[in-house]
C-alpha cells in the first residue's frame, strides 16, 4: 500500500463488502460457537428470524413508516426555518452578531434533554417527536449554512459588483447559488443526525416507531429484535444518504462529479 494511491472500483466494492462479511463471521462465531450467552446477544440467524417475525406478524413496517415520517417531518421543518436564517446570518454581519452567540450556545443543548420538557408542553403525540428532531437539527443547520454563505469566494462577489450587481443581486444571484451545493451537503449530514434523535424520542414515552419496538424488546430480552431494529435504522440511513447524494449531484451538476 502506498499513501493516497488510488484503487480500482472493483477492489473498493470488494473490500467494502469484506468488512460486512467479517463482521457477521465474528458475530456468528461468538454467538453460535457458544462463547457469548444467548440472553445478552442473539446470533445473526436468530436476529434474521426475529426480524422476519417482526415484519410479518407484528406490523413492524408500520413502525418503520412512522419513524421515517417523524424524521422527515422534523427535519423538513428545521430546514425550512434554519436555511433562510443561516443565509441571512452568513450574508449580514449584524444579524450574525445578533444570533450567533445564542445559537452557538443552543447547539450544545442536547435534544434528548428537552424530551421531558417537551412532553410537558406538547404531550406524547407526534408534535413532541417532531419538536425533538426540530430542536436537534435547527441550530446545527443554521450555523453550518451561515458558515457556508460567509465563506463564498470574495472574488466572485467582487466580480459581481464590477458587473453592476447590487445588494439584492449579490444575495440572490451570487451568495445563494454559490453556497447551494454545500448547504445541501450540510442538510444531508444533519439528516443523518436526525435519525439518532428520533430513536431517543421514541425510547421515551412512545407507543410506536422503531425506538418503541427496541425498548419493548429490551423488556422481553429479545436481543435479536433489538439488533434487527438497529440494522434497519442503519439500512434506511444508508438509503436516504444515497438518495440525498444522488439528488445533490443532479441538482448541482456544475459542482459535483
Amino acid at each position: 500500500m502506498k499513501p493516497l494511491a488510488p484503487i480500482s472500483n472493483k477492489a473498493r466494492v470488494a473490500l467494502g463488502i469484506l468488512f460486512f462479511v467479517l463482521f457477521f463471521a465474528v458475530w456468528g462465531y461468538a454467538t453460535l460457537g457458544g462463547y457469548v450467552s444467548k440472553t445478552f446477544l442473539a446470533s445473526p440467524l436468530t436476529m434474521i428470524e426475529e426480524g422476519w417475525l417482526l415484519l410479518t406478524k407484528h406490523g413492524f413496517l408500520l413502525d418503520i413508516g412512522i419513524t421515517i415520517w417523524r424524521v422527515l417531518g422534523g427535519f423538513v421543518l428545521a430546514a425550512l426555518v434554519a436555511v433562510p436564517v443561516g443565509i441571512l446570518m452568513g450574508a449580514y454581519k449584524p444579524i450574525e452578531a445578533f444570533l450567533e452567540p445564542f445559537i452557538s450556545f443552543a447547539r450544545y443543548l442536547p435534544a434528548s434533554a428537552f424530551i421531558p420538557l417537551l412532553i410537558l408542553w406538547a404531550g406524547l403525540g407526534e408534535l413532541q417527536k417532531l419538536l425533538v428532531i426540530f430542536i436537534g437539527s435547527v441550530f446545527q443547520i443554521v450555523l453550518m449554512v451561515a458558515i457556508t454563505v460567509a465563506a463564498v469566494r470574495r472574488d466572485l462577489i467582487e466580480a459581481a459588483l464590477t458587473l453592476g450587481a447590487r445588494d439584492r443581486g449579490i444575495l440572490a444571484r451570487v451568495l445563494i447559488p454559490a453556497s447551494a451545493p454545500d448547504i445541501a451537503e450540510s442538510l444531508r449530514l444533519v439528516l443523518g443526525w436526525a435519525w439518532t434523535y428520533v430513536i431517543v424520542a421514541e425510547l421515551i414515552g412512545s407507543s410506536s416507531g422503531i425506538g418503541h419496538m427496541i425498548i419493548d424488546s429490551q423488556a422481553l430480552l429479545a436481543t435479536g429484535q433489538i439488533i434487527f431494529g438497529i440494522i434497519v435504522i442503519g439500512i434506511i440511513g444508508l438509503i436516504s444518504d444515497f438518495l440525498f447524494k444522488g439528488a445533490n449531484q443532479r441538482l448541482f451538476p456544475w459542482s459535483f462529479g
Binding site: E158, A159, L163, G164, V174, W254, S255
Partner: protein, 250 residues
C-alpha cells in the same frame, strides 16, 4: 490591517487616462499596481485623493468599470452564456436583446460552441476569454484587467494577447491592464506606465508608437527590442529595491 502600522501601498499618484487608450502598468510585485486598479474599480477606497471617471468621482464598484481578475472568477453555477449575460441581467436588459449581445460576444471570443458549458469544463484560457466577454458585454466606459493572463501557459498567453488586442482594435475601449510581463505590456499598449517598488509611484510613462493592427511578429522587431531593453532596465532597478526591502510583499 490589524496590528502594526498600515502599509502604504501607493504614493500619491496623479494620472490621467485618455479615452480609447490602452494603458499597461508594470512594476515589481507588491508595488501597488493591483491596488491602483482596485481603487479605480471602486473595490478599495483611497485614504486620500479621488478617482474621476469622465469627471464623476468613483466611490463604489459599478458596471461602468468592467474588471477581469487574475483568479478565475466565472460564476461556476452559470453556463458560459449565462456568465456573459450576468451584468446585462443585473441591468435589466430584456431577454431578447441580452441573447443577441451574448451571441455577439461568444463569437468575438471564439466560444460560440461552448455557450452551454460550465466554467469547470473550460481550460484556463477559455475561462479568461469568457471573463473578458462578460466584462465587455456590459459595455463599460473602461476595462480593467489585473494580470488576467498571469496563470496561463506561454502559448495560450500569446494567443490571448492577440485576441484582446484584436478586440481593442475593433472596439477602441479605454483599457487599464496590469501585468509584470514586459513583453506583454509593450505588445498590447499604446502607453506603458512603470511603477516603483512599494510604496508605488509612477516612474516612467512610455508612449508605444507601434502601428496597428499589430501582428505577433512585431515582438521580434528591433523597435520592440529597444523598448523592451529600456523597460527592462527601469523595472530591474525597482525589482532590486523590492527584493531587498524588509517589508513583506503583498
Amino acid at each position: 490591517m490589524r496590528r502594526g502600522l498600515p502599509t502604504r501601498a501607493l504614493e500619491p499618484i496623479d494620472l490621467k487616462i485618455a479615452d480609447n487608450d490602452f494603458v499597461t502598468i508594470i512594476g515589481p510585485s507588491g508595488c501597488g499596481k493591483s491596488t491602483l486598479l482596485r481603487l479605480v474599480a471602486g473595490l478599495d477606497q483611497p485614504t486620500t485623493g479621488r478617482i474621476l471617471l469622465n469627471g464623476k468621482p468613483v466611490s463604489a464598484p459599478g458596471p461602468d468599470r468592467g474588471m477581469v481578475f487574475q483568479s478565475y472568477t466565472l460564476f461556476p453555477w452559470l453556463s458560459v452564456a449565462d456568465n456573459i449575460a450576468f451584468g446585462l441581467r443585473e441591468k435589466g436588459v430584456p431577454a431578447r436583446e441580452r441573447a443577441k449581445i451574448v451571441d455577439e460576444w461568444l463569437a468575438n471570443v471564439g466560444l460560440a460552441d461552448f455557450a452551454q458549458h460550465y466554467p469547470k469544463q473550460l481550460s484556463g484560457g477559455m475561462q479568461q476569454r469568457t471573463a473578458i466577454a462578460r466584462a465587455l458585454a456590459n459595455d463599460p466606459a473602461i476595462l480593467l484587467l489585473d494580470e488576467p493572463f498571469g496563470a496561463l501557459d506561454n502559448q495560450t498567453r500569446a494567443l490571448m494577447q492577440e485576441l484582446l488586442l484584436g478586440i481593442w482594435e475593433r472596439e477602441r475601449k479605454t483599457v487599464l491592464f496590469v501585468t509584470h510581463d514586459i513583453e506583454e505590456a509593450i505588445f498590447l499598449a499604446s502607453r506603458v506606465l512603470v511603477m516603483t517598488a512599494r510604496p508605488g509611484r509612477i516612474k516612467a510613462d512610455v508612449i508605444i508608437d507601434l502601428p496597428h493592427p499589430r501582428h505577433y511578429t512585431i515582438k521580434t522587431s528591433s523597435v520592440f527590442s529597444a523598448l523592451k531593453a529600456r523597460l527592462t532596465e527601469e523595472i530591474r532597478a525597482e525589482a532590486i529595491v523590492a527584493a531587498t526591502a524588509l517589508s513583506p510583499s503583498s
